[in-house]
Symmetry: D2
Subunit: 312 residues, 4 copies
Amino acid sequence: MAFVKDFVWKSGMSVEELVSALGSVGFQSVELDKASRIIVKMKESGAKVFLTFTSNMATSGLRGFFAQLAAMRIPDIMVTTVGSIEEDMMRSFGEKFAIGDFRPDDFALYEEGVNRVGNIYVSNRSYENFESKVKPMLEKLYARKKVWPVSEMLTEIGLALNDESSILYQAAKNGIPIFCPAITDGALGFHLFMFQQDHPDFVVDVVKDFANILFATSQDEKKGAICLGGGVSKHYAIFSCLLNGGLDYAVYMTTAHATSGSMSGATTSEAKSWGKIKDDSDVATVIGDVTITFPLAMIKALEELKRKGVLK
Amino acid sequence: MAFVKDFVWKSGMSVEELVSALGSVGFQSVELDKASRIIVKMKESGAKVFLTFTSNMATSGLRGFFAQLAAMRIPDIMVTTVGSIEEDMMRSFGEKFAIGDFRPDDFALYEEGVNRVGNIYVSNRSYENFESKVKPMLEKLYARKKVWPVSEMLTEIGLALNDESSILYQAAKNGIPIFCPAITDGALGFHLFMFQQDHPDFVVDVVKDFANILFATSQDEKKGAICLGGGVSKHYAIFSCLLNGGLDYAVYMTTAHATSGSMSGATTSEAKSWGKIKDDSDVATVIGDVTITFPLAMIKALEELKRKGVLK
Amino acid sequence: MAFVKDFVWKSGMSVEELVSALGSVGFQSVELDKASRIIVKMKESGAKVFLTFTSNMATSGLRGFFAQLAAMRIPDIMVTTVGSIEEDMMRSFGEKFAIGDFRPDDFALYEEGVNRVGNIYVSNRSYENFESKVKPMLEKLYARKKVWPVSEMLTEIGLALNDESSILYQAAKNGIPIFCPAITDGALGFHLFMFQQDHPDFVVDVVKDFANILFATSQDEKKGAICLGGGVSKHYAIFSCLLNGGLDYAVYMTTAHATSGSMSGATTSEAKSWGKIKDDSDVATVIGDVTITFPLAMIKALEELKRKGVLK
Amino acid sequence: MAFVKDFVWKSGMSVEELVSALGSVGFQSVELDKASRIIVKMKESGAKVFLTFTSNMATSGLRGFFAQLAAMRIPDIMVTTVGSIEEDMMRSFGEKFAIGDFRPDDFALYEEGVNRVGNIYVSNRSYENFESKVKPMLEKLYARKKVWPVSEMLTEIGLALNDESSILYQAAKNGIPIFCPAITDGALGFHLFMFQQDHPDFVVDVVKDFANILFATSQDEKKGAICLGGGVSKHYAIFSCLLNGGLDYAVYMTTAHATSGSMSGATTSEAKSWGKIKDDSDVATVIGDVTITFPLAMIKALEELKRKGVLK
């Protein structure tokens, strides 16, 4: 039986030491360290690992971390929403997002052409530049074939970005498919629509992409999921695993709570009713802002995986 | 200037009287009454009204209310996720969902073939019956044409359900398109995939459907949104309005908070940075479980709209 | 087994009809109706009923409702923090609290002498008037005796207020003690301190008041608690019941979640580990803003208690 | 203007490096780094620093960290609830608290004599041992004088504990008063009551202690507050500062949100309406579990203060 241990700071403390110590502190700290240990277990077991995240996380500086994780092949499959795709591309095109306030004068921002995502500001100009860069990309894709499953399209876009800091680029380069179940829900959707106006036989095939995510894992393989935030990204990963026999490992990190019955707040316990997870030592739900909790849990896991020679 | 008024119960109190009184109580009560008044404003102004909701809400008894609202043409456009579509159809096929607990033995539920959504239980059998009913529907659609934009497909499915309590049926019957930006993220996605295996030229055209939501409103029209929960349902509605000049009225009801920068927690204030809303009297954000807050705000609005002769 | 039922609006719907219908909707709606039924059970069983609330609720219009409930002797014992005492008194002295915004220019408010509590504004003037009225009250108390247990002092103040809308007055008039475990944590604390400067033998005896809350119930009696929000108000009630054998019924209404281990978020399930509650049908935890959830659950209970002749 | 920077892991990363990098990530990460910088500012400015926390935090392993911070004289004044006092004492008496689950069988725990606080378990035996140790302590205090202001009593208890890991001991040894505005709200309250039964002239003087917290700072001094969680601990610190001209620096860390108007969720912006804070660079509100966020922000501040020679 584990007991609460007094936490004490030592000068120069590493993230790994901190997270280990937090494992004996209590409340969400315990879940955080457990999440870290489950990530290590997933990788050591050779499970196929899903990493899912919502678009605000790619708007944030976690973008670079997701790209780094892809470069190290931590995830085998990624799932996100189209905002992530757009913002990753914008950053590769040289755009900068400002750090602002959670409570500014929003109408003033509007008049300055600034769009707010929490305390991050994205200017209209970034969207305009995006438009000019996306069009020629779609032209090239179309020249090769008319019907594009989403993840295959994203792989091609990723390779074209040629930016080491890009999620899409690193995913493409390392053979990690990115799924995006609501590809039209954003600026990219608008540009796909404009393109289709001129090229009526251009099709984005979401049904074909369902086959792709389904066949990305098999019944026989172990499967794990690290779900950051909720929504369709989380559900698409879990659901495709369910069809293949269920998850063996699951880490959910979110600010949402289970009490409203939403997918964002659905816990790893609820997941047990849908799948095959039996053992509490293989699941963890960490409540908190992912920009804080995910780097903590992941860094400790990376240090351990590196020491064990599991990191590529 | 409005002042706090002591709330006092009167026997036989109606919902309308309660919500009016809550407008002078404080905290979220004030926002609730404001939300109700903005819904009335939207309808009186003749604005095109978007109603968006997440799938757990259609799993709940709000399904009947959404169908009733569609029958009264309160919304002009609906946006949701595919879980809503599936669960609405299952209920029309005669399935029942049980009310259970938030903290059951989830592995025991799994072994009984029961899937949990918060405190609502859906049995595996409901999913199996769903499969047997969906296939012939897809056959009929395919016989008519090969390429289906999502909302057009949902209209046809709705008409086929022929169930007065169904959201899809009432929407179809009353000319209200239902948009679903992530149509493959669920059991329906799996059946679409299975169908496409046998009919390779069957296409669900999500890009074409972007045109449909875009042209569902115009720059000239007033536009309002009632967004229940967050995710892609909320974003798809707001984004399509943004492209048409922005929202004039917005009511957001959610359990999520603005502090994580997620779409689910994004407030109506943040929406001002993205659109054209100027006046605080035209927006409200109500924090709380939608199964409680939405009926309250909507019922008061309905009573008032009825008295004013605006209800159809 | 209960099943989800489609919710449908009927014109003129009463609060009681709404809450009954919500009992078959799902998520927090189910807990809300359950809470209402447990309140009825508590009263019918003849249990001693604790009502606890935090000070922001007395700042809101719930003040009038708490006074009304005291007049009807729904609670046998009340527990709150000193802000509630102060704000109830201010309102009895004729002060008005304005309804404002959650996101104003707070420094501007400061310069105008306005103090903000969420979206309720209390002016400095209200605090100044409070001072002038409290002093003579303390003089009178002191003239009678030097040592005052908190609840006895609050009874005397309540009687002196002579205002039918006052919580303190109705409690005093109806023999309901009000406990306040942190009596000095506010403006009243400051005035007690000022008074003690001039009257060094004046004592507020919090230890004696512990005896009062302990002897307010007995081991043999059934005990129930309705806890609105958390903090010391909630804990003081639960703890005193624990010493007397535990609670038989408990309804918790709060916005806090269990995941941080705080008293505010502690669930009725956690309470089982501390007490004697065995049966899930006798406890409910409703997550949501109390200004909305409490009137709903309480009104349905009142209508039912009235019909059954239990209301005084 | 600051911009979002891609976060990238480096092997062996220190906590200080992580928190610095998080300052450019977005959402709560930005607030976290800001909180850390404000703590440094507070200490460098020579401000009197209040540290407030709720009792669950002293139940957790943060107990050791609070003791360490007291030993380094980071806080000048501490405020907490009586649960903290009790649990700190129990740990000094040799009790161990187990780390358990958030969702156990609570009735089974009750039958085993285990009390749950989130995912921490405290056994009945710990409470029984507490009783046997507290009595002789009260005897000694009473032998010295009959009337005890709370903070003076806690200083004497702290010295008697003689345990380097104890919050009370380190506070007492380093001249840091601990205030506890609801001293009777727990097991200690019960033992004070039992003691008073036998010693009727024994008085715990909470009004006198108001003078102590008031005179712990002056109008002229700079004042800062680090408030972990909410409730009376937070309010008592802020209110006493308000009477002395207001806070110059404030860091709030909590899981509560501003939307319910509670003290736990009250933001540093709301604090501006009550005090004199003008500049946003001197306040931060971090939303998240304090067992994770506080060590992060504090460790970075400690490393910096050490380097600058400010640490004692």
